[in-house]
Symmetry: none
């Protein structure tokens, strides 16, 4: 993948993600990235003066849709639908670009480096918070059983999503991430819906 239709800087980022996907965070080397791009290491450093800058760019790229997804979700009127929308948006993104899931699985490893710790935490807790807000609103609207707190539900959903991604990776993307995640989430949320809502047939957006 030369990503030749893009600007060098973006191409380097994508190539770096490819390397992370194949060799893991510890396997990224400017040498390898340069080799794959068919340029010299010095050229990479012209675009990203330090390796950290490159990795920061990767993280920014990784989280580029976070704000949009969060806001779009929060604007939805049906908060259960919103939770569903939130997760499937990510699933769709990942399904179109499976390599990026390597980043999702490297939060902790990345956070060991002081340079990334805060950024990673911001991404992780940011997503968790969006889910939590959606869950809280859903509970306020009596759409959900009261026993699980919004925070707990957020963690369950995000945790499941990450696990699904890991399984997906370990099975070399052998199934549709989006379909799997969506169907599981649908059933899960349905099971948690308050009884008086349960009877009504919920219609979920197509995927």
């Amino acid at each position: 993948m030369g990503y030749s239709f893009l600007h060098r800087k973006e191409r380097i980022i994508l190539t770096t993600i490819d390397v992370i996907n194949e060799y893991g965070i510890q396997g990224i080397s400017t040498r390898e990235v340069a080799k794959r791009q068919g340029i010299t290491e010095a050229a990479v450093f012209k675009h990203f003066p330090r390796k950290v800058d490159l990795l920061n760019a990767v993280l920014d790229f990784y989280a580029q849709y976070d704000k949009d997804i969060s806001m779009s979700s929060l604007q939805q009127k049906d908060y259960l639908q919103a939770i569903f929308y939130f997760v499937t948006r990510y699933a769709e993104y990942y399904e179109n670009y499976p390599q990026i899931t390597a980043v999702t699985q490297s939060y902790d490893v990345l956070a060991c480096e002081a340079d990334f710790r805060e950024k990673i935490k911001k991404i992780y807790f940011g997503r968790l918070t969006t889910l939590q807000i959606l869950a809280a609103k859903a509970r306020e609207a009596w759409l959900l059983s009261c026993e699980l707190s919004a925070a707990q539900l957020a963690e369950i959903i995000l945790g499941f999503f990450h696990a699904a991604c890991l399984t997906w990776r370990f099975q070399t993307y052998a199934f549709s991430l989006k379909k799997y995640v969506a169907s599981t989430l649908q059933v899960l949320l349905n099971s948690l819906i308050t009884d008086r809502k349960k009877e009504g047939v919920r219609k979920w957006q197509e995927f």
Copy 2:
């Protein structure tokens, strides 16, 4: 932590886990491990001829209770209780040895190295499978709502557990992992219990 009461070989393993915990997988170096143990790098190689051997030992150490926990869980008569038992056993282990959770968060990164891929997958899918069996049995016994498949439930639970560990790490172990995981799981499982069971007050083991 010198771990001076243990044999050198085990001490090296524990020190390696400490290093993984602080610097991440990419931060382990024979030099650092040796320095922390107060021995020379060469001495480390007397115990673990290659770095891969050391990491393999770390993974074996990490998964040392897997078989026991799995079997103990499967022997329980109440399968919902068993799921609960399974998760809290790990939570208890991790709470007593927080550094080890660094390994849990590094599955994917480790799996990039061909040497560990199978072992990691075995650990991950092993735990998932145990949970799945327990869930399946619980469903067979009509303890659970039918809509979530055993595999889905297993993935939700394990995913939540991993997410809880990550949050725990990011918050520098500021809360009791075991209590948090147990209470969340209890509420979650309660929400998923079939209606006819729901009325009966479930008694969960103390934690």
Copy 3:
């Protein structure tokens, strides 16, 4: 210091001297010079095709007044006054442009590069020779005690001047170089004046 009132070429030279002053000879890089000038490295190379050319220009700039100072000194009638004049001219120049003294302290380091060796030696021995001629003439005129040869006296004076510059630099220009050098030189020369002249009160030029 952008030196924006000068031509680019001269600006680059002054900037280079600033860099030498701060980072030393080994710290000059086209990158740093370009950055400080707010231009690209390539632009620097338009003016000085090779780094050596830039350094040669710096040395020429450094020694730009040498010929004038030498000739002015040699034209003075009182050769003791001439020695005094010679040294204070440099002291004045340096005091108005302290950064330039970095070059004075880098003779030997510069001379390691074959490209500069002869130029540096020419500057150093040139100044030494001027002083020596002045000293010789002063001795011929029976103004100085006979025991110190002209060459020795020249080396003592130039050596002292260089040492004074180094002290001045190490003390972050905390005193007036010109005043210090002038007063010391005055006393020194006075002490070396032949006895029959000593009685007459010598009047030194104001500074």
Copy 4:
């Protein structure tokens, strides 16, 4: 020069000084040092974990006799003799090891690096101070003309010595540094001796 009779660590230091002598401070590279020692760069780094450590060792080596020379000088009864002794000790050291004078000529360049600044200043001002104390004592003993302050005299002498070393280097060690420095110093000091002492024939130590 392999310096094969010494320990590796000391050999590396001496080789480094050789390199400084030939290429200047800016020309030292671990690669060059290693090559000259016939070992790999990694081996150099086993002895000196960072290049700065190596340069620090060079500076320590350079100043290794400072304390001894200072104390020996201060213990001498005749303070004029002491000044003479102080300078000729260094001249002798340098004459036996001409390469080391490259360091003397690089004070300012070295001081640009924060890591060395204080050490260099300590060496420079340390030597200056010793000379100054000797000069002050000589004046107290009415051995010297009163007009030059001790500090001025110290700077003149050290400055001359440094200039002599530079000349010596530029003339490829074509004369005896010790003899030249000693004879000049003798005449200089004789010229500065108070009149009532001047008559007495001063006997200087042999060199």
